[in-house]
Symmetry: C2
């Protein structure tokens, strides 16, 4: 009999991606995915960029290239991190990855032995939990509130826990909660991790999609000891189909990510990197991001307004200042997974929240995405979910 490695016992398909298959039916109103709105993709622009790239450097675009990534694209990434996240760095500290998901996988492989401890927000991004599981760590969930990770709880855990090798956080418009850490929490966090010298994975896929209030400084921009590994991606500000993300870290740490990249798949797609670089030369990405923010902001408003109108007062939900998600907490006696089946019968879908807690529990929660449904469907979908919730109230 063929025997698999132990790590395979922990890996199962993501419930989200399985659910997404169900919700791909066109008559379903789906708030389940984390998909960007495809009607906003700059298809014509990417076509122009693609033609220009293949015309001007076709042979190089179709060939192998360096593991680290295409230098002109990394230069643009450096400039963007400076402009948007106040991070001072250079191309030697950037590695291009296959989406930021690959940055998550590499983070685990760079830092985690079996049974090492990884800390993360409770709840946290399911795809990160899945990637980390392949290294068989222990997860400790750090409690959160509307201002982000609770620093007193983090300190308590660090004071009593051995072998904490990595802390994974999404400080801006978190997946799944939609919450953003306050400035005070960010400073306190950096103070704590600087004391303990623990590497931090700062995952920032949504940071540029802020609809209101001021930008917060990235943790990486507050990092004086080279402990923060920053993960960025073009998936939410341009398009996910090219699978381009990046890792920015100190030299000694990034060298390890480069080795992992080489072993894992040699390099990110040359042609995807060059075409994206050409697009960024030809078009104003900020202008494009502004369009996205305008549309998503309206959809968020629409969803929150509909929730106010249709969800019973026994529920609470978050008010995201940006990003793609809001997070709903039901009365404890309602199981959101069971309720999801009732909702699917009414042709509306969300992701039950239990999967976002690596150590289980919290089955009375769910995640709602507002970025890829038009407003009239958002209103109708929320109305239907509201009816199902009300039918489940005691």
């Amino acid at each position: 009999m063929v025997r698999f490695a132990d790590r395979m016992n922990l890996l199962t398909g993501s419930e989200i991606r399985e659910l997404l298959k169900l919700t791909a039916q066109p008559d379903i109103i789906s708030f389940a995915g984390g998909l960007p709105a495809p009607e906003l993709f700059p298809v014509e622009g990417m076509k122009e960029a693609s033609m220009k790239t293949l015309d001007e450097m076709g042979r190089a675009a179709l060939q192998y290239s360096t593991t680290e990534g295409f230098v002109p694209l990394r230069e643009k990434i450096v400039a963007r991190m400076k402009a948007k996240n106040n991070i001072d760095t250079d191309v030697d500290h950037v590695l291009v990855t296959s989406g930021s998901q690959q940055g998550l996988d590499f983070s685990a492989r760079v830092f985690l032995n079996k049974d090492d401890v990884v800390l993360l927000e409770s709840p946290s991004y399911l795809g990160a939990v899945n990637a980390f599981k392949a290294c068989e760590p222990k997860f400790i969930e750090v409690p959160t509130d509307n201002n982000g990770m609770i620093m007193e709880e983090l300190e308590k855990i660090l004071a009593k826990t051995e072998n904490v090798k990595m802390i994974y956080v999404i400080p801006d418009f978190q997946n799944p909660s939609g919450r953003t850490w306050t400035l005070e929490r960010r400073h306190k966090f950096m103070e704590i991790i600087t004391k303990y010298e623990i590497p931090v994975i700062e995952d920032n896929p949504y940071g540029e999609l802020r609809f209101e209030n001021e930008n917060m400084p990235s943790l990486k921009s507050l990092d004086t000891k080279g402990l923060v590994i920053f993960l960025g991606t073009f998936s939410k500000i341009l398009a996910p189909g090219y699978r381009l993300g990046w890792v920015c870290a100190e030299a000694e740490i990034l060298a390890k990510y480069n080795f992992m990249k080489q072993a894992a798949d040699l390099q990110a797609s040359t042609v995807a990197q060059m075409e994206t670089n050409t697009f960024l030369d030809m078009y104003d990405l900020d202008e494009h991001v502004n369009k996205i923010k305008e549309v998503y902001g309206k959809r968020r408003d629409c969803m929150l307004k509909a929730m106010d109108a249709h969800f019973p007062k026994e529920c609470t939900w978050t008010h995201p200042d940006g990003g793609l998600f809001t997070w709903v907490v039901l009365p404890e006696y309602i199981n959101a997974k069971e309720m999801a089946t009732q909702c699917l019968e009414k042709k509306v879908a969300y992701v039950p929240g239990g999967s976002f807690f690596p150590n289980g529990g919290h089955e009375n929660t769910f995640r709602m995405n507002y970025s890829c449904m038009p407003e009239e469907k958002i209103e109708e979908g929320i109305k239907r979910i509201g009816e199902v919730i009300k039918a489940n109230l005691r």
Copy 2:
């Protein structure tokens, strides 16, 4: 201090990729890489395919898609494996990966716990060894001769070794040796592994590039027990820049690879898959492969002829029937790594062979690539290497 995972002690940059940086200087005659000839890339065809894809299904191409891969592309992969490798399968048994390198990484992660044993040909592909190292296995090298892996040696090893979890082989135009297993060896191999029920990774990046003699059946086509995992790629028959390869395996095994893919980077590039699929709809890939074979065949002839003329009789080298490489054995007292420095001074490069033996030794060997240099440079380069070898003879 930041602590890294134990596996990172084993991972260092590939010597080949470091060497490739050196040899990228335009005045170097490089036989070091494993690069396809860029002048043969169908740049215009890919441009047409790219425009058509973005015109007809741009939004879908730029969006996330399924982990398993784009169904029409997987259908073409299935048809191609039937036509070229006599493999009977269907789309449900195919996963699209980021090059076949990713298939190697996943193979290790699916099958290998720390200290498990992996068997491979001696020598074997350095990139595979590197990928496997991230799972901290033990390597046992199985001796080979001009007919491929030596089956008596394989049997001896299997009879006395516990925890052999995987066997990695490249039966066609092996990297680095250029050798191809005989039919008899293939049948004997399948008999042995069927008895021991050990999963086999059959890596087949070069199989279609045969210049002479008959095609050999793939191991997968001789597999009655679902033990062979077949890795294919578009890198050598179309272009590596899109990073598209595939894994074909039995359902229970492929499910594990799918979980790994989801955790590692969600999916292969949607746009790369769709554009490649469109290219295959618009153009005849066989015709293109015939052009590649014609050019590479001539370059091989040129290299072998030049070796006959310029290498001293104290050296031996392989006669590849296809693929990209020939393998040179020097007298034992010559160190090919030291000699590489001397060759670089004469502006000519190869890869020292020691790196292809995971357990070390064999420093008197080197790998030569003939696919990406024009014939006049091949002749000149071989002449220079011949002079250096002669200067090192005792």
